[in-house]
């Protein structure tokens, strides 16, 4: 399955860039001119270490969605069908990575679709789209 992967030492938590990845995601994917609304987040922790919130397409959200609005596409990426979503946000609450998000103005939540736009935007080539096996569904 397609998965967005980050090399944290290369990324450095955004301390030497303008968070181009977040900006590109927010503006080009979600049409919002604010990097805070991206589907990935990088930051430098107080300890100096880099940290990132990134969806790894684990599928936990698929397992808890009551309406089957979340399904893997043929590339293995978890996609949301907004027509089926009832806005319960169990996907948001049950995402251990905090990578399923919502905006106050949107009824449906959103997530990374491993589209790769952020990969191209990263000035340090710290992001990559990789192909990994689909993990077995977890009972949560």
């Amino acid at each position: 399955m397609r998965q967005l992967k980050i090399n944290l030492p290369e990324c450095d938590g955004g301390s030497h860039c303008a968070h181009e990845c977040e900006q590109a995601c927010a503006t080009r994917v979600f049409k919002l001119d604010d990097g805070r609304f991206a589907a990935l987040h990088i930051q430098q922790l107080a300890s100096g270490e880099a940290s990132a919130v990134i969806c790894d397409q684990c599928g936990d959200c698929v397992a808890v969605c009551p309406t089957e609005a979340l399904k893997r596409n043929k590339l293995g990426v978890v996609m949301i069908d907004k027509k089926l979503c009832v806005g319960c946000y169990m996907c948001v609450g049950f995402c251990e990575k905090g990578a399923f998000e919502r905006l106050p103005d949107w009824l449906e939540p959103y997530k990374c679709t491993a589209c790769g736009i952020c990969v191209k935007a990263c000035p340090h080539t710290a992001l990559a789209i990789v192909d990994v096996p689909v993990p077995a569904p977890r009972i949560i």
Partner: protein, 743 residues
């Protein structure tokens, strides 16, 4: 499948949860036989801040369909849900009305917050009627999609009055604005078949099935007083209809007396904000917070997502609280065979089990691939709901049945026949003890050998109930009427029969052993509708955690918790996400039993939905209005006084010698320390009598303390001062009843 030994690792359920017997082959012929008796149109609407401002009244006798306004006074005094149900019922009946009079109503109302999809346990419907078992109002809190879909179609409540001349289906189409009463002559009777057929019949296509909810009952509701109502939803993953039950008090029997075969609501496609709340952001934020809490903590707390409420079977046994052999004992060596690890293995785990959208606590477990061994569906493969704790205890240990597969079959047939599992569990246990003590015998049961643990005889009694035959018809009258019959027939010692028949006000006890918890004795017998733990479950606070040492402490608990829990039913909430999950720091709060953070969640949800800011004191006042109104309603119907709050002695202390001996150390110690009597030299019967006098006196003192705390007279009547405090003095008939009874 092979069940694991107790304590072994839990294998994942290997049953294909899509595999089951289907029942829709004859659908076209069944549909073709429908005849439209009445059709009216209405303008579908969506709630504004939780309310549509109108309810729907259907008179099944005249087939008149009427919209009624929801007034500001209704919202102010009764909020919604159970409150609306009681208010509509009050206006429909007279003190002389009994359950099978045409003016009796069944009211279904979801409450203003019901239908939000963000917070677990927010899709409940409250069902109210005059009970065939108690002759007073009964209220039942049920999941499934009907209430929310009704509200999103445009109605805050549905009143069903009158009696149809033939079996009918009431169809409410909230997408097209049509209400139809249809003659339904060929419909199957039992719920698991009927709900599946009707879901497919009224959905325009497969994608429409989640928008359909069916309310129906089963064959036993035609022949008993203990019929319940099933509320359905479409389980998309399993590809079948699931059912939740409005169980207590026989509302299913009223439903069939009105010749209603089913209610079907087709609501709009559900979206996040159909309730049009005042502050959606707070709903979202509060819901996500609880989802995270459940994700993080459920596995180390109650494991509701794995076991549902059955997680407490072994806990109850360990604390000697699991009702065993008709509430005689509190534990059994075979309990491990029906313990939570068995259900965890037996229920499918790789699926979603909420009874309304957004319930991440997901207790509505399903045991799939159950192949039935008896009855009309013998050989069929079915999905069985649960079993919940009440079913495992009531149908299991209380009847001495510890075989999980038989227990599932009992559970299945209760559900599809439309029988309340709690009621059935308690009445079957009573029957078995009567059999043990010679009050019943093979001749009197028509050959049913109802000895402890005989699941096949137990099931045959249930099948008889559904067929309207034999001893099953007698059992289906419930414990109270069985007591009267057995005593009238001279079949045994009347005092013993009264003592061991576990009912109060005509309703059977639910499945907790209250003998050693004075507070729980009150928690059961001081309820409005009859002994059901949804008002006050204080047994652990009192008996295990010793948090209620004085009469005043117990009275405070029996003031606060019934009011707090009433509030769930006003708004369409489930109780379970309140305290079957707790924040990590809950134990360090000032009042951990109240789960303060979750109380705040509920205040926020109410305010965010309705736009009306409330605090925890206002919350209790909202509940107290409805609670006291219901008490006065009981008085109006001829009960509701101190004399009606007296429990059977089995719930208070040891009735028999073997019960005393099973806990002799405890009872002897109480005699020395609390009664001031030396048990040495006393005969067993003398000790039982001394204990009884002491315990019943103690119960009476508890009543005094609770009535005083609730603002009631010594006879249990709300005082005028309490009515004024609550603003109920604006209702002249309520005032007149209270005055007439010295309040």
């Amino acid at each position: 499948m092979t069940l694991p030994e107790a304590g072994s690792a839990i294998p994942q359920c290997t049953v294909d949860f899509t595999q089951r017997t289907e029942y829709h082959q004859g659908l076209d012929a069944i549909k073709a036989a429908h005849k439209v008796l009445k059709e009216v149109s209405f303008i579908p609407s969506r709630p504004e801040k939780g309310y549509n401002g109108r309810s729907l009244h259907v008179d099944l006798s005249s087939l008149e369909v009427q919209e009624k306004p929801v007034t500001q006074q209704m919202k102010d005094l009764f909020i919604g849900g159970r409150g609306f149900g009681l208010w509509h019922l009050w206006n429909a009946v007279t003190p002389a009305t009994r359950w099978n009079d045409p003016e009796n109503e069944i009211i279904i109302s979801p409450g203003p917050v019901a239908g939000i999809t963000q917070y677990p346990g927010s899709g409940k419907s409250l069902v109210v009627s005059i009970s065939p078992q108690t002759d007073i109002p009964i209220d039942s809190n049920v999941g499934g999609y009907f209430g929310p879909l009704l509200k999103f179609s445009g109605f805050d409540a549905l009143e069903l009055q009158g009696k149809a001349g033939q079996d009918v289906i009431l169809f409410i189409d909230g997408q097209n604005g049509i209400i139809r009463v249809e003659a339904a002559p060929l419909e199957p009777v039992d719920s698991h078949v009927l709900a599946e057929i009707l879901t497919r019949m009224y959905a325009v296509d497969e994608a429409d099935r989640p928008n359909i909810s069916v309310v129906c009952t089963g064959a036993a509701a035609d022949h008993s007083l203990i019929g319940m109502l099933n509320f359905s939803w479409w389980d998309k993953r399993r590809g079948c209809v699931r059912l939740k039950q409005a169980g207590r008090g026989g509302i299913g029997t009223v439903f069939r007396d009105k010749r209603i075969r089913a209610l079907v609501c087709r609501g709009p496609v559900v979206k996040a904000d159909l309730n049009h709340p005042a502050d959606f952001e707070t709903l979202a934020r509060t819901g996500i917070k609880l989802h995270k809490e459940i994700r993080t903590l459920d596995g180390s707390q109650c494991k509701m997502r794995r076991n549902g409420t059955a997680h407490i079977v072994e806990i109850m046994d360990a604390y000697d609280l699991l009702p065993t052999h008709n509430f005689q004992f509190g534990s059994h060596p075979d309990t491990h065979r029906i313990a939570s690890d068995v259900w965890e293995a037996r229920c499918s785990q790789a699926t979603v089990d909420g009874c309304w959208y957004g319930c991440s606590l997901a207790c509505a477990k399903g045991a799939d691939g159950v192949v039935l061994r008896t009855g009309p569906y013998r050989g069929h493969t079915v999905t069985v709901d649960g079993p919940e704790y009440e079913n495992a205890a009531g149908l299991g240990s209380n009847a001495g049945i510890f075989d999980p597969e038989w227990l599932l079959e009992l559970n299945f047939y209760c559900d599809t026949y439309g029988i309340c599992t709690i009621t059935y569990g308690t009445l079957a246990a009573f029957v078995m003890e009567c059999f043990q003590r010679g009050i019943l015998n093979l001749e009197r049961t028509g050959g049913l050998e109802l000895v402890w643990g005989n699941a096949e005889a137990d099931l045959e009694m249930m099948h008889q109930m559904a067929r309207g035959e034999g001893f099953g018809v007698i059992a289906g009258q419930g414990v109270k009427k069985m007591k009267e019959l057995f005593i009238a027939n001279g079949w045994g010692d009347p005092k013993l029969i009264q003592d061991i028949g576990m009912e109060c006000k005509g309703l059977e006890y639910s499945q907790y052993l209250s003998k050693e918890s004075l507070a729980q004795q009150g928690g059961y017998a001081l309820t409005n509708k009859g002994p059901q733990h949804d008002e006050a479950w204080v047994i652990f606070m009192d008996m295990v955690n010793k948090q209620l040492p004085t009469f005043e402490d117990k009275a405070e608990a029996l003031y606060y918790f019934p009011l707090f829990r009433t509030w769930f039913g006003l708004n369409g909430f489930c109780k379970l996400p309140w305290n079957d999950i707790a924040p990590a720091d809950n134990a360090s709060t000032a009042e951990p039993a109240k789960i303060p953070e979750h109380v705040q969640n509920y205040l926020d949800l109410f305010s965010a939905t309705t736009g009306i800011k409330i605090d925890k004191e206002t919350m209790l006042v909202q509940s107290a209005r409805v609670y006291n109104f219901q008490r006065v309603f009981n008085i109006r119907m001829g009960k509701g006084l101190r004399a009606n709050d007296v429990p059977p002695y089995r719930s208070v202390g040891p009735v028999t010698r073997e019960e005393y001996e099973s806990r002799a150390e405890r009872y002897d110690k109480q005699m020395v320390e609390d009664i001031g009597v030396d048990p040495a030299g006393k005969s067993l019967d003398e000790k039982i009598a001394i204990t009884r006098t002491y315990r019943m006196d103690r119960y009476s003192k508890l009543c005094d303390a609770v009535y005083a705390r609730r603002g009631w007279t010594a006879d249990g009547v709300p005082t005028m001062a309490r009515l004024r405090e609550l603003g109920l003095d604006v209702l002249p008939e309520v005032v007149a009843i209270v005055r007439a009874h010295g309040g």
